[in-house]
Point group: C2
Chain length 362, copies 2
C-alpha cells in the first residue's frame, strides 16, 4: 500500500492506495459508536456495499446508506436532496461521517452534500473508477449540475481521508479504465516527463490491471495533483494546467451529447489537438507528438475527431469555455513534453488548423 498526504493551508489528509484497502478497518479515521452514512449507486452497491458496511461495523460504527440513481443526468439538486432526506430521517447530526462509495458523480454529489448538511460534516471518499481515483480524489471540488450548465453549483470541500482500492477497477468496464488512462497520460504530458517515460514502459500492465503498476501510477497522479492543489487550492493559477485537452474535449462532448463519448475519450483527442497545435507553434517536437499519440493508442483511446464532426464545429463550443476572458481563447499547450503552459490568446486559424490535422479523412 502507498500513501499520499495532501497538504493544504490549514489541514492535511491521507490518500491510501492499494489492494483491499476497502476492507482494512485501520485506514478509516472512525471510532466505535460513530454514525456513518454511505452514499452510493445500485451498480457499485451490488459489488461493495455489503463489504464496506461489514468493515465499518467491525470498527463499531453505526452504518446506514442511501443509493442515488446512476448516471451523470442525476448529478443534480434532486439527488442532493435524497441524501439530506436520508440524513434527517435517520436523525443525523454534525458528528455523522458521510462516505462516498462510487465514481466521480457519487463523489461530487456526496461531497457537496457533506459540505452543506448542517453547514458541513466529515467526509471520506472511496473512489471506484480510475478517473475518480486519479482526478476527483484530490482537490476538494464538489458539485452538482444545473440544467443550464455542468458543475455550476458546489463547494470546495476537503475529505478527511481517501481510500483507493485497486481491486475495484476489476469490476469497472474496460472502456472506463481506458478513459481513466487518458487523464493519467495527461499528468505525464503536462508536468512529469519521467512519469511519461514510465507510462510508455508500463501502459500494458495498466490496461491489464496489474496491481503494482496501478498502485504506483495512481499514487504518482495523486501526488502531482496534490502538489498543484497545495499551490492553488481555489483555482486561480497553476491548476489550469490540469485542463490540457479539455477545451477541445468539452467541444466533442457537447457536440455529441454528453454520455456518447466518455470524458476521457474526448480528452484523449483534445490532447492530440493541443499537441499538434503546440508543434505548429514550434514548441513540441514532431517525435514527441508521435509519442503522445502512440501512448494514447496503446491505451485503446481515440486520437482523431469523432466521425462526422467538422473542424469548424469546435470553435463555437470552445468559446464558451470558462477560461475564455474578454473573447480571447485561452488554451493549455505544451512547451515541451512534460511542461505545459497557458496560451492567453490562441490564434483561431491555427487552432482550426490543428483540429483539421486530427480529423479523419475518408
Amino acid at each position: 500500500m502507498l500513501c499520499v498526504n495532501v497538504e493544504l493551508n490549514d489541514r492535511r489528509y491521507p490518500i491510501y492506495i492499494g489492494e483491499n484497502t476497502l476492507t482494512n478497518p485501520e485506514l478509516y479515521p472512525l471510532n466505535a459508536g460513530q454514525k456513518v452514512m454511505i452514499v452510493s449507486n445500485p451498480t457499485i452497491a451490488q459489488y461493495y456495499l455489503e463489504t464496506l458496511t461489514h468493515t465499518l461495523e467491525k470498527i463499531g460504527c453505526v452504518v446506514e446508506h442511501v443509493l442515488l440513481p446512476d448516471g451523470e443526468q442525476h448529478k443534480n439538486l434532486d439527488s442532493l436532496n435524497l441524501i439530506f432526506t436520508a440524513l434527517l430521517k435517520g436523525n443525523h447530526g454534525r458528528d455523522t461521517t458521510l462516505i462516498a462509495l462510487g465514481g466521480g458523480v457519487i463523489g461530487d454529489v456526496a461531497g457537496y452534500a457533506a459540505a452543506s448538511y448542517q453547514r458541513g460534516i466529515p467526509f471520506i471518499q472511496i473512489p471506484t473508477t480510475l478517473l475518480a481515483q486519479v482526478d476527483s480524489s484530490v482537490g476538494g471540488k464538489t458539485a452538482v449540475n444545473h440544467e443550464l450548465g455542468k458543475n455550476m453549483i458546489g463547494a470546495f470541500y476537503q475529505p478527511i481521508a481517501v481510500i483507493i482500492d485497486t481491486q475495484t477497477l476489476h469490476t469497472l468496464p474496460k472502456r472506463e479504465v481506458n478513459a481513466g488512462l487518458a487523464e493519467v497520460i495527461k499528468y505525464g504530458a503536462i508536468l512529469d516527463l519521467p512519469f511519461f517515460n514510465w507510462l510508455e514502459e508500463h501502459i500494458d500492465k495498466l490496461v491489464t490491471l496489474q496491481t503494482d503498476a496501478l498502485q504506483y501510477c495512481i499514487a504518482r497522479c495523486c501526488q502531482i495533483k496534490a502538489d498543484i492543489v497545495a499551490r492553488d487550492e481555489t483555482e486561480k493559477g497553476d491548476r489550469a494546467l490540469l485542463n490540457l485537452g479539455h477545451t477541445f474535449g468539452h467541444a466533442i462532448e457537447a457536440h455529441l451529447g454528453y454520455g456518447n463519448w466518455l470524458h476521457g475519450e474526448a480528452v484523449s483527442v483534445g490532447m492530440m489537438m493541443a499537441a499538434v497545435f503546440s508543434e505548429k507553434l514550434g514548441h513540441l517536437a514532431p517525435q514527441d507528438v508521435a509519442r503522445i499519440e502512440k501512448l494514447l493508442a496503446r491505451a485503446n483511446l481515440p486520437t482523431v475527431s469523432p466521425d462526422g464532426m467538422q473542424p469548424e464545429e469546435y470553435l463555437p463550443y470552445m468559446m464558451r469555455d470558462k477560461k475564455v476572458i474578454a473573447g480571447k481563447l485561452r488554451l493549455v499547450l505544451l512547451k515541451q513534453l512534460g511542461q505545459a503552459y497557458v496560451a492567453k490568446d490562441a490564434d483561431r486559424d491555427l487552432v482550426l488548423n490543428a483540429i483539421r490535422c486530427c480529423t479523419q479523412t475518408h
Copy 2:
C-alpha cells in the same frame, strides 16, 4: 454613519450602519464594469430595488436582479435554484457579485447561493429588517430549510461588506421592529450590562425609530456578535450564548406553527423563562428579572406563554434541540444580568416550574 469591522482568521469585512447608506456609492466594494445580481423579494423590491439599482449604476456596474417569493416557506432549494437559473441565463461568471436586499430569508438564501454558485462568488448583504441587521449580518451563517428541518442545508460564508440603512426600518411593520428588539435586548442580557442600561434609557427612541439611537444600537449588537464570532467562527463554543431564550422560543414557534408568532416574540417569552429559571437557581436577582420583563414589555413584546399552550407541552419540543447531548437538556442561562452561561444538564422539574411562572392564568 458608524462602521464595525468583523475580523476573522483570514479575512475581514466592514459593516456600515447609518442613514441613507443604501444610496452611498462609496460604500460598495465594486468597480465600474463589474456585474452585479441583486436578490430580493417583491415586498422589499417595491421600496428599494430601483434606488439600489440606480446607485450601483452610478458606480458603473452592470445590474440585474432576481426576485424570490416572499416568506419562510420559500426558504428552500427551489428558491436557491431560481437564483442559479438567473445567474446562468445572464451568463454570469465567478466575477459577478451577489447582493442580498431584504430580511433574514433573503440573506440566508442569497448567501448560500453565493457560496455555491461556481463554488463561490463575492457577496454583499443589505439587511432591511432589524432582526437581520443585528443578527444575520454577522457570522456568515447561510442556509435553506428542508421539509424535515429548518436551516439544515447551508454553508459558513462571509460577505465582503454589509450595508445597513436605518431608513429601511421605516417601511418595516412595527411588529417586526419590536421582534427585532427582542434580539437586541438579548445581547445586553447575555454579555453587556452597560448596553442593557443604555437600552433602558433609549428603548422608546428605538421603538419610534430615531436614527441616532438605532445607529448606535445596531452597531453595538454587531460588535458584540462580531467579537463572539471572531472567537468561534464555526460554532463550537461561546457562540451558543447567543441562543438565550431560543430553546424555549423554538418550542413556542413549533407548537403554534411557524409564522404565527414572530421569532423575536417567541424569544422574548423564552428569555423571560430563562431569567426566571436563573432566578430559581439562585443566580439572577429578582429585581433583574423584573428589569428584563419591563424592558421587553416597553418594546411591546410578550412576556408570558401563548394562550392555551400548557407548560407540559414545552419539554418534548425542547428535547429536540440541537444542544441536547445524550438526552441531557443544555440551556443558556444568566449568572447575572450581562453574563450568560450554558447549563449542561438542566433539571426538568425546575425547567417546568420556570415555564409555569411565565404562563397566563385566567
